[in-house]
């Protein structure tokens, strides 16, 4: 819709100057990105006492990346993304409780189960408008929560699923209490999945998602089957969320009922918006800032934490669209405005 109004109200030449020059998808890694990926490794050596927290940040970051695909790129407002996270977590958890402790296959199984659920859900989700989508995603997440809650003989109910026996990674590395193996495992999975997602969003498929987000009525005239692309990206997002869930289950050797809860979905949206949507890196930055702040403030007083996160949301929406990375980008634009004028 934005694209429409801008084109109508402003002279065409001006709009063309505002847009980047047309180019083929370019996914060369920038120096800044390489520095970004060196940060967790630096953190590993700098804060050896916080490896568990750092691993969790990376896992939640992966989860946030999966939401960024469907919310940030395709523009589907989902309030129930925890459904797929929880499915992945319970799949990996149940497999290892029942004797299948091999981590990598458990991880993949979590992704596959979440992906199948995502595919089934996607057909419902693409039918409606924003409100219906929001309600359907929320409803499916709540249904799964109720199911996991009531099926206590399988899932452990409110007590959570414990007694997981996760085997050695590659048959050699055992998950230790300090979280060394968990750290490298999480980091590797995050990096590999992120690299794939980065390629996806820079591909023609990813560009068509942005097109759908910005002007859904125009896309069919370009020969794009909008619903099929939305189903595709929703499924992909569900797979990645399932991987993140399975990863959390394996590294913490526990699955809580809260992995399916509404607060988890809501917090995820908050992280994503805090970092900045539609950038992939925004999801990681948002997750890191959110988790660190939560770790610090919730330690002081959980009630204050909820108040401040609410206030923060209101302020972001009113004054700071684009979140942290959006703000940084605007700062960069101020510093070097001459880049815009290049042909």
């Amino acid at each position: 819709m934005n694209a429409f109004t801008e084109t109508e109200t402003q002279p065409v030449a001006k709009v063309a100057a505002m847009l980047p020059a047309p180019k083929l998808p370019n996914d060369r890694w920038q120096p800044l990105e390489i520095v970004f990926w060196l940060l967790p490794i630096a953190a590993y050596f700098a804060f050896p006492g916080y490896l568990v927290l750092i691993s969790q940040i990376m896992i939640v970051g992966l989860f946030a990346v999966s939401l960024d695909l469907i919310l940030g790129y395709a523009g589907i407002v989902s309030l129930g993304h925890a459904a797929f996270f929880g499915l992945g977590a319970y799949t990996a958890g149940l497999l290892s409780v029942h004797g299948w402790g091999e981590p990598l296959s458990g991880l993949l199984a979590g992704g596959v189960v979440a992906g199948i659920a995502g595919l089934l859900t996607a057909f419902l989700v693409v039918r409606g408008q924003d409100l219906t989508r929001l309600m359907v995603t929320l409803g499916i997440c709540l249904m799964l929560f109720e199911a996991a809650n009531k099926a206590a003989f399988i899932t452990g109910g409110v007590d959570g699923l414990s007694g997981m026996m996760v085997g050695k990674l590659f048959g050699t590395f055992e998950f230790d209490l300090n979280g060394n193996v968990a750290f490298w495992y999480s980091f590797a999975v995050l990096f590999i999945v992120f690299a794939v997602m980065r390629r996806v969003v820079k591909s023609p498929f990813g560009l068509s998602l942005i097109g759908i987000r910005e002007g859904v009525r125009r896309m069919p005239s370009l020969g794009v089957n909008v619903n099929r692309r939305l189903v595709g990206v929703f499924t992909l997002g569900a797979v990645v969320a399932g991987l993140a869930g399975a990863l959390l289950a394996q590294t913490t050797q526990f699955v809580g009922l809260d992995s399916l809860g509404f607060p988890r979905s809501a917090e995820l949206v908050i992280m994503l918006v805090l970092g900045g949507t539609g950038r992939l890196y925004g999801a990681l930055v948002g997750a890191a800032v959110f988790m660190l702040a939560q770790d610090y403030i919730a330690g002081l007083n959980p009630t204050y934490w909820q108040f401040y996160i609410g206030l923060l949301l209101v302020l972001i929406v009113l004054f700071a669209r684009g979140g942290i990375l959006g703000g940084l980008e605007r700062l960069l634009q101020l510093v070097k405005p001459q880049r815009k004028e290049q042909p």
Binding site: L131, L138, M143, N149, V269, G310
Partner: protein, 288 residues
């Protein structure tokens, strides 16, 4: 067995009418301003806390506390609409959702700060306690009172919207804001007053509902789904749609919890998904 069923049906209708009372304001704000307000339950919670405080701390009689709960929520709604909400009418749905989740979180934290995390007790007057016999059926006196109030409010609301000048202005603004403004209707004032009215009704519902829904700081989150459900299933922007949806959901929820307690809230969520698939635009759609 049959009397049992009638009792469940009656409780379901009472529950549904309460849901309707709280959600009707949400339906109008969604239909009229196209605003997804997840913080609507916070206004109901506010009404509940106002009512509880008046009852226990100031000794105000129960019946008198209800209009005051209405007024308090309506005033807060009016102020918030003027200061915050109106900035976001043109914003994307994602922004609206985030903004109202933020407000909800702040309301939850605020209520915990002032009232503590426990359930608030409410002492009903004697004449509303116990059972009364209605057509040979023993039903809770408070449920009868609840349905009576909601019927009165619904009739008044129907008259207000269908028969008064202000109602005509509301309908015109829902149908077409631009045309309504062109005809000299102060659309922004109509929005503010409607928002206040909706918030006030939610407050009234919150005050009335303490005995049925309970009241603790997580109220807005716990029931958010139900309020949204009523509007999404019923169709935003109408009165009849949410009424029908609220009664259906109320009856199914009570019946589900009574007959199949082991599946719990599953019934209502399954019903919601089915209804939304069958009627993606809601049961009743306002014809523009």
């Amino acid at each position: 067995m049959l009397a049992n069923f009638a009792g469940v049906l009656f409780d379901g209708i009472a529950y549904g009418s309460l849901l309707f009372l709280i959600s009707v304001g949400l339906s109008v704000t969604m239909g009229m301003m196209n605003f997804i307000n997840l913080a609507h339950g916070a206004f109901a919670m506010l009404g509940g806390y106002v009512s509880v405080s008046l009852l226990s701390r100031f000794g105000v009689p129960f019946l008198a506390s209800l209009p005051l709960a209405f007024i308090a929520s309506a005033l807060v709604g009016l102020v918030l609409e003027r200061v915050l909400y109106r900035r976001l009418y043109k914003a994307s749905h994602l922004d609206q959702v985030l903004f109202s989740i933020g407000l909800t979180f702040m309301a939850v934290a605020g209520a915990t700060y002032f009232y503590g995390p426990t359930q608030q007790p409410v002492v009903l007057p004697d004449w509303l306690r116990g059972q009364v016999s209605l057509l040979g059926l023993d039903v809770g006196a408070y449920r009868v009172f609840l349905i009576g109030v909601v019927v009165l409010v619904t009739v008044a609301l129907g008259l207000l919207i269908e028969r008064t000048r202000f109602g005509a202005q509301i309908r015109a603004s829902v149908d077409n804001q631009t045309a309504a403004a062109g005809l000299g209707i102060n659309v922004s004032l109509v929005f503010s007053l409607t928002f206040a009215l909706g918030s006030g009704l939610a407050g009234l519902g919150g005050g009335l509902g303490i005995d049925v829904l309970g009241l603790d700081p997580t109220f807005p989150v716990k029931y958010m789904v139900y309020f949204l459900l009523v509007v999404a299933v019923g169709g935003a922007g109408t009165i009849k749609g949410p009424l029908l949806a609220a009664i259906i959901l109320g009856v199914f929820d009570v019946a589900g919890k009574y007959y199949v307690p082991e599946v719990g809230a599953f019934v209502i969520y399954a019903l919601m998904v089915v209804l939304l698939i069958l009627f993606p635009m809601g049961l009743m759609r306002r014809k523009a």
